[in-house]
């Protein structure tokens, strides 16, 4: 299979996802509105009584951006599960197309959707009074770290979808991502939590990205000084790379094992 076909077939598979959005704009909009709703809910309902340096929104927006990336796992998992159950992947595999295009197309489309999601959420944040104070380069770097986390989640999602491949599991994962999401510093600082919980929260990959992004944006930090908080940027790169090192080969291996 020549490289030209890999690119061309991957583009065809990406276009397939774009066509889904065009045909189901409501679903697309709901996907974008959900994190916005969470942001508003926490910003107004919860934030009203809290205030970190009186600027909870400044604290919350980077947390929500990171949380949205982590929750992207669900979208990937759902899409992979549906494809497997519909048998459409079998048709792709019995065609003379590039075999990597199915997964490459899935990643490209999910990353694109997540990038749009980030922009929408950031725009709403700006309306609520969130600002970044670190300059354009730092802001771009922050978005890069967020997308890196999403990319790691993407391959976990593909792997999980291949392993389970059943709608029931999608529901289970949809429930399980919540504690993982909340056991982070996306909404609150670890100092407000019991000691052991604070440690879990600090080492959550989601917290690393949120803290690193807050630093880059110049937003108030969550954590009291600790090793994890001091090395957030390092962890925000290391965690996703570690997850990718584990789940990328697992996912690709699973895809190949469809013919076993």
């Amino acid at each position: 299979m020549s490289a030209v076909w890999v690119v061309s077939d991957s583009w065809t598979m990406t276009r397939r996802e774009l066509a889904h959005w065009a045909r189901q704009p409501v679903q697309m909009v709901v996907g974008l509105v959900f994190p916005v709703m969470m942001l508003l809910m926490f910003g107004f309902l919860v934030g009203g009584g809290r205030g970190i340096d009186g600027e909870y929104v400044e604290f919350l927006v980077p947390g929500m951006l990171a949380l949205t990336m982590a929750f992207g796992l669900e979208a990937t998992l759902t899409a992979v599960t549906q494809d497997l159950n519909k048998g459409v992947i079998d048709r792709f595999r019995a065609m003379p197309m590039s075999s990597s295009a199915v997964l490459v197309g899935r990643s490209a489309a999910d990353m694109l959707q997540s990038a749009v999601g980030l922009l929408v959420l950031a725009a709403v944040g700006l309306l609520l009074g969130w600002r970044w104070h670190g300059g354009a380069a730092a802001a771009l770097l922050a978005f890069g770290l967020l997308l890196l986390l999403r990319f790691a989640m993407l391959w976990i999602g593909i792997w999980l979808g291949m392993v389970a491949g059943r709608p029931e599991l999608v529901q289970a994962v949809q429930i399980l991502v919540w504690p993982v999401g909340f056991l982070s510093n996306a909404f609150a600082t670890p100092e407000s939590m019991p000691g052991w919980l604070g440690v879990v929260v600090e080492w959550n990959p989601l917290s690393a990205t949120a803290t690193a992004v807050r630093d880059l944006f110049g937003n108030p930090a969550a954590a009291p000084p600790s090793w994890a908080a001091d090395h957030a940027a390092l962890l925000a790169v290391a965690w996703p790379l570690l997850l990718l090192a584990v789940f990328f080969p697992l996912a690709v291996g699973r895809y190949r094992a469809l013919s076993k």
């Binding site: 077939d9 065809t12 397939r16 045909r23 519909k86 048998g87 079998d90 469809l258």
Partner: protein, 308 residues
């Protein structure tokens, strides 16, 4: 041979799905693989269509070895799986166009081919609708159209009419018949004997992952041997009386019917009439029946009955 399968084995964990399957299908013919659930039909199709790797034996499809050169096989086959392999959210035409592009037809030809196939399968009016709004029969026709994008040399149909209503089934049958004229080799699996009888030139009966019998429908029916004489009685008392008089009868009290095998149809018919008349048992109906494929199927795939 368009398809040549020799001694193919496939094992899933400790379950032996195929245990030395052999299959030869001549070019331009329709071949049915018939068998009960779990006989290995789908496994065989998945191996022949490069979706699954076999453990042993050789499989050649359209002149290429599926293990050594799957890409060459893929560009020469079409596959209609058990479940519609379509993108339900997309329109019918979008599906066909996407598959055309992935067959490397290029954007323009993929579009033209999509329109051509929609027209041919009577879906031109509904080509812009999402597939999830299609009826079962329409979905199956679109699925079939998708497997014909490049006019495949060999077409695999895995239980093409399972789950369809009679009308949907008739639609698929006529679509398959129209293909045969074009020189396509068709291999179909089915649980419906009628379907094999209607569509196939030759039939392979598969059971327990190997071939139980192979031949034309008539050859297979002859395997079960004897024609049967069928007698319908007027009531249960006469049925019981007739059952005592006639040799080795199978009795069905619900329909007041009994049947038994005969070697010579005409002599058997005369003998039966005479026996019943002498005993004063009045029959409502009397007929000679050739064995159905159903009987062949049951006889050859049910081990207990074969042993008995």
């Amino acid at each position: 041979m368009a398809i040549s399968v020799e001694g193919v084995h496939k094992r899933y964990g400790d379950k032996q799905a195929l245990a030395g399957l052999d299959l030869e299908v001549a070019g331009g013919t329709v071949h049915a693989v018939l068998g009960p659930n779990g006989a290995g039909k789908t496994t065989a199709v998945r191996i022949m269509s490069t979706l699954l790797r076999h453990d042993g034996g050789t499989v050649r499809v359209a002149g290429h070895d599926v293990a050594a050169d799957p890409a060459a096989v893929r560009s020469r086959i079409g596959l209609l799986g058990q479940h519609a392999a379509l993108d339900e959210e997309l329109a019918g035409r979008q599906n066909l166009e996407m598959f055309g592009r992935l067959h490397h037809l290029g954007a323009r030809r993929a579009g033209l081919r999509a329109d051509e196939l929609l027209e041919r399968f009577g879906l031109a009016d509904t080509g812009r609708k999402a597939v999830k709004q299609y009826s079962g029969g329409m979905r199956r026709r679109l699925d079939l159209a998708a497997s014909l994008i490049t006019d495949p040399e060999v077409l695999f149909l895995d239980e093409p009419t399972t789950g369809l209503d009679p009308r949907g089934r008739a639609e698929v049958w006529s679509a398959v018949r129209s293909l045969v004229g074009g020189g396509t080799t068709v291999l179909l699996t089915t649980q419906y004997l009628e379907e094999a009888d209607q569509l196939a030139d030759r039939i392979t009966l598969v059971d327990g992952g190997r071939v139980a019998a192979e031949g034309t429908a008539d050859e297979l029916k002859a395997l079960v041997g004897a024609d049967r004489i069928v007698v319908v009685l007027r009531d249960a008392a006469r049925l019981a009386q007739a059952a005592r008089l006639l040799p080795d009868p199978a009795v069905d009290p619900d329909t007041l019917t009994l049947s038994f095998p005969v070697q010579d149809r005409m002599a058997g018919l005369a003998r039966t009439l005479r026996t019943l008349e002498e005993a004063g048992v009045e029959a409502a109906d009397l007929a000679v029946r050739r064995p159905t494929l159903d009987e062949v199927f049951l006889r050859l795939t049910d081990r207990e009955e074969v042993a008995a």
